[in-house]
């Protein structure tokens, strides 16, 4: 049996799990209507303003930094598998790649992007 078929089976299993559990919940649970039930929870007082608003930019900075390093990790995985065969040549060639990335981290650090404000 191929792995892709199994992956499909697992995906279908997951789908079946959520649909059955959700269906059971909808089927078994009581339902009653009350206008107050539809309010967003804000400790009891009526909500003020919209919740879909502009948000702190600090999170966005970390997301960008994450992209940089995550793509790096994706590039490094295939190299990591064969580095034992590549030997010293593999070590030195990836060293330059890593140094450029560490310089990037150092730049972000120096600019204060890593400090939560």
């Amino acid at each position: 049996m191929t792995n892709l078929l199994l992956l499909l089976v697992v995906l279908l299993t997951a789908l079946a799990l959520v649909l059955v559990a959700w269906g059971l919940g909808v089927w078994l649970a009581p339902r009653s209507y009350n206008p107050l039930k539809e309010e967003a929870y804000e400790c009891g007082v009526p909500t003020r303003g919209k919740s879909w608003m502009q948000f702190k930019v600090g999170y966005y900075l970390f997301a960008i930094l994450f992209l940089m390093f995550d793509v790096e990790a994706v590039f490094l995985f295939p190299w990591a598998v064969v580095v034992q065969d590549l030997g010293v040549y593999g070590l030195t060639s990836v060293l330059f790649f890593l140094i450029v990335l560490i310089l990037g981290l150092a730049y972000a650090w120096k600019k204060g992007a890593l400090t939560w404000k």
Partner: protein
């Protein structure tokens, strides 16, 4: 050491002898699905009970002890209660995304769950990029959490989801890089081969200091990745009510609850597989008699024993450390763990290339 592939191939041949190959494959697929579902549900039940019992023990309480002997069917009662609670959708939510978000969380955790090597020859999904697939699948849960916070139309949910997103993507890096360090040592990403490679010696001993550092980093990052322990500020009760799942009720909330506990087990089992030898018994090179005695213990017991130990350590974190602030949390990742991890990777490569490992 008993090989479970004997059992699976026996079932395969038995099915093929009574029906056509296509029908046999269909039946096998259904069997795999049922076994996975049962395992997933049972793991969730056991873990929730274990968490409550361990928590009680840390706080000098008894924990659940009324429903069933030692409270062992308390969680089943909780699940039935959760099923019979109304699923409320508040107004002005993004209905489609609001309903989709818990599904994504569960599907992501089940995909990663299917890759776990339970014992010798007991593994549902075994890709040649296994570890990579596992990281990718488990990090899909972030999407579900962000969607939940955004679509709920609630300020608590939004703040919780943003914190959770920042935390999970940051610690994702540490998980990736510490596992990368171990891939360098093992030379393969296939989970079954990683376990086979630890026949002589577990990787945590084989790669001495870099492997130990990677193990500690992985445990810290894994705890943060599951939004648990000292890193549970996305759902800090005192500030954010319940974080990203404030507006979810009934079974919708149950999905998040179950996924959180199963994710903890997935983190523990990856730690077991990559660092502590998976289902491989403790072997010490040179001590043949000792190794042969260890081989008598079945592989499934080794795997569950080691994962239970890791799960206990993760629970221990939760009940002993105070919660971090978000700036401390991001500092810890970006200013300490990430540079240390990059350095550790280079040291590990040098050790592997120069052949200094055991």
């Amino acid at each position: 050491m008993f090989d479970f592939s004997v059992v699976t191939s026996w079932i395969d041949q038995g099915l093929r002898s009574v029906m056509s190959p296509a029908a046999a494959i269909t039946v096998e697929c259904v069997l795999i699905g049922i076994v996975l579902l049962a395992l997933y549900a049972i793991m969730a039940l056991i873990l929730i009970l274990a968490e409550r019992k361990v928590c009680a023990a840390f706080q000098c309480r008894l924990g659940p002890n009324r429903v069933g002997p030692w409270g062992c069917i308390q969680v089943v009662a909780d699940m039935i209660k959760m099923l019979t609670k109304e699923i409320i959708t508040i107004k002005h939510t993004d209905k489609f995304l609001y309903n989709l978000a818990p599904f994504i969380v569960i599907i992501a955790s089940l995909l990663a769950f299917a890759c776990i090597p339970w014992g010798n020859g007991l593994q549902a999904l075994d890709f040649n990029v296994g570890i990579f697939f596992m990281i990718a699948a488990s990090s899909m849960g972030i999407v579900g959490i962000l969607l939940a916070g955004w679509s709920s139309n609630n300020k608590f949910s939004l703040i919780g989801a943003m914190r959770s997103g920042a935390q999970m993507i940051s610690y994702e890096l540490s998980i990736g890089l510490s596992l990368l360090t171990m891939v360098v040592l093992s030379g393969t990403m296939q989970i079954s081969e990683i376990v086979e490679g630890q026949n002589e010696l577990w990787f945590i001993f084989k790669g001495h200091i870099p492997a130990l550092i990677a193990f500690v980093i992985y445990l810290i990052a894994g705890t943060a990745e599951t939004n648990r322990g000292p890193f549970d500020l996305p759902e800090a009760e005192s500030e954010l009510t319940a974080g990203y799942h404030t507006e979810y009720s009934g079974m919708h909330f149950g999905f998040y609850y179950v996924a959180e506990f199963v994710n903890m087990f997935i983190v523990a089992s990856i730690a077991t597989t990559v660092f502590l030898g998976g289902w491989m018994p403790l072997h010490i090179p040179g001590l043949d008699g000792f190794n042969r005695i260890m081989d008598y213990i079945p592989s499934v017991i080794w795997f569950f024993g080691k994962s239970a130990l890791m799960v206990f350590v993760i629970m221990w974190f939760k009940w002993t450390f105070p919660r971090l602030r978000i700036d401390q949390l991001l500092n810890l990742e970006w200013k300490y763990l990430l540079p240390l991890n990059l350095l550790n990777l280079l040291v590990m490569v040098a050790i592997v290339v120069l052949g200094w490992h055991f």
